[in-house]
Symmetry: C2
Subunit: 264 residues, 2 copies
């Protein structure tokens, strides 16, 4: 959980990346743009300098997108791989009633290459939950990358396993935990995942999601989620203001959620 003190993702110097929300979140604990993917993959398997250089080369495809942008349409077959470099995106399912369920988060370093590897249409939408920096890598370039860098390909395979495990964990989370436990579990998971890309410092991290987003993730109403968060604050387990989450009692929070990081 080392911290990098270089130029941050949210740095106003990065063109086209003005803050969406009102509050000025502190810039602590973030790493430079191209870093998240490399850091994450390094956690799944060793990378050499050439691998890292290749990943760095992907930054050429990066572009900023606004919040609520639909990155991949449902039923569409994308001809490019989508890599998130900064911000939060999500895989959503929608009902006729308008109700929404977020079934996965894409945080920096996460990607979707379904359309490229297999040409299967997606059964959900991928949407930017915050202002994001995303790379759309053309099929040819992406396949070339995998072909030339087997270590990267291997690490990506393992990352995919972690994604599957996460999906299963989410089923269990909404299926057998109470609202409070569920919320605690998600916060623990995010700490773990963000930690892997160096975006956690002192048990704190930026959580740029609205309560509606969180509620749609956890299968709760936003009203109820709000009360759950208040309870967690009241019990001194977390503090959350201005998009910044601080885990005050990691041990107890994990115990409450029965969180086991093994699946990540």
């Amino acid at each position: 959980m080392e911290t990098f003190a270089t130029a941050t993702v949210m740095d106003p110097a990065v063109p086209g990346f003005a803050r969406t929300r009102r509050h000025a979140a502190p810039a602590a604990g973030r790493s430079r743009p191209g870093c998240a993917l490399a850091r994450k993959l390094a956690g799944f398997g060793p990378l050499d300098e050439q691998d890292r250089a290749a990943l760095e080369g992907l930054t050429g495809y990066v572009r900023p997108v606004e919040r609520h942008t639909v990155l991949v349409e449902q039923d569409g077959v994308a001809d490019h791989a989508l890599i998130v470099f900064a911000g939060f995106a999500s895989r959503d399912k929608h009902r006729a009633s308008g109700r929404r369920q977020i079934v996965a988060y894409l945080i920096p370093g996460d990607l979707c290459d379904r359309g490229v590897l297999h040409d299967y249409p997606l059964d959900h939408t991928i949407e930017a939950l915050t202002h994001c920096l995303v790379a759309k890598v053309p099929r040819a370039a992406y396949l070339d990358l995998l072909g030339r860098h087997p270590r990267i390909a291997l690490a990506l395979q393992r990352a995919r396993l972690a994604e599957e495990a996460t999906a299963h964990e989410w089923v269990a989370n909404v299926g057998m935990r109470s609202g409070t436990e569920r919320t605690a579990h998600l916060l623990c998971e995010l700490m773990e995942r963000l930690g892997m890309i160096g975006q956690v410092t002192d048990g704190q991290y930026d959580l740029p999601l609205t309560q509606v987003d969180l509620a749609d993730t956890l299968g709760l109403s936003s009203v109820h989620l709000n009360r759950v968060l208040q309870a967690l604050r009241r019990d001194k387990l977390i503090s959350l203001r201005e998009q910044r989450l601080r885990i005050l009692a990691p041990r107890q929070l994990r115990a409450l959620a029965e969180f086991e990081a093994g699946y990540l």
Copy 2:
């Protein structure tokens, strides 16, 4: 949805495969043991005769297991691939309180090759929900199969995509559907999946699960699930007795669940 009228899986002639539950379920609509996997894979990509023969060869590894048998231990790294030939198995997560959540079903033709392909420990248990016929294929033999039969490997890849999509669908199911809708959705999904392996006839299929199993799948209490089933019966959407489910009003059931088969 063609039907095969050959020797059935439940056939008493198959050694070690006595019925677990009390009721003698009708034998209609089932196919012969080795067939499910081939049928399923054929749905994901073309197979030739040699491929089918190779799959048929796996039946040598098949053995019967009793209900409640733990097929793969949590945290264990299996040195074999697990293929279900008959019966229902499940991936379960357990809490300290004893509460259980089923995060996936393994029906005939489904398999788990995690331990073989990557040697990652499992974050859940695989358990036989009914008496089953399963094959434990040694790593070497399994890898050899994949190596010699690229069509099979490809079809398995696509089957894996469907599994991922199913996991996401389950998150959405427990997250944003009511108990009744959830249950309807699961029944629709099972009809679809069992249909792909020829185990649905006239909108009927065997559902050898207890209400506790179903409840643990859907994140409901068994008491409530029981009432949900009664409501579905009362509304003439389904009939369910003696392990046999009949979908009386497919259209309405699908509408109720907002079921879209696309993800499978």
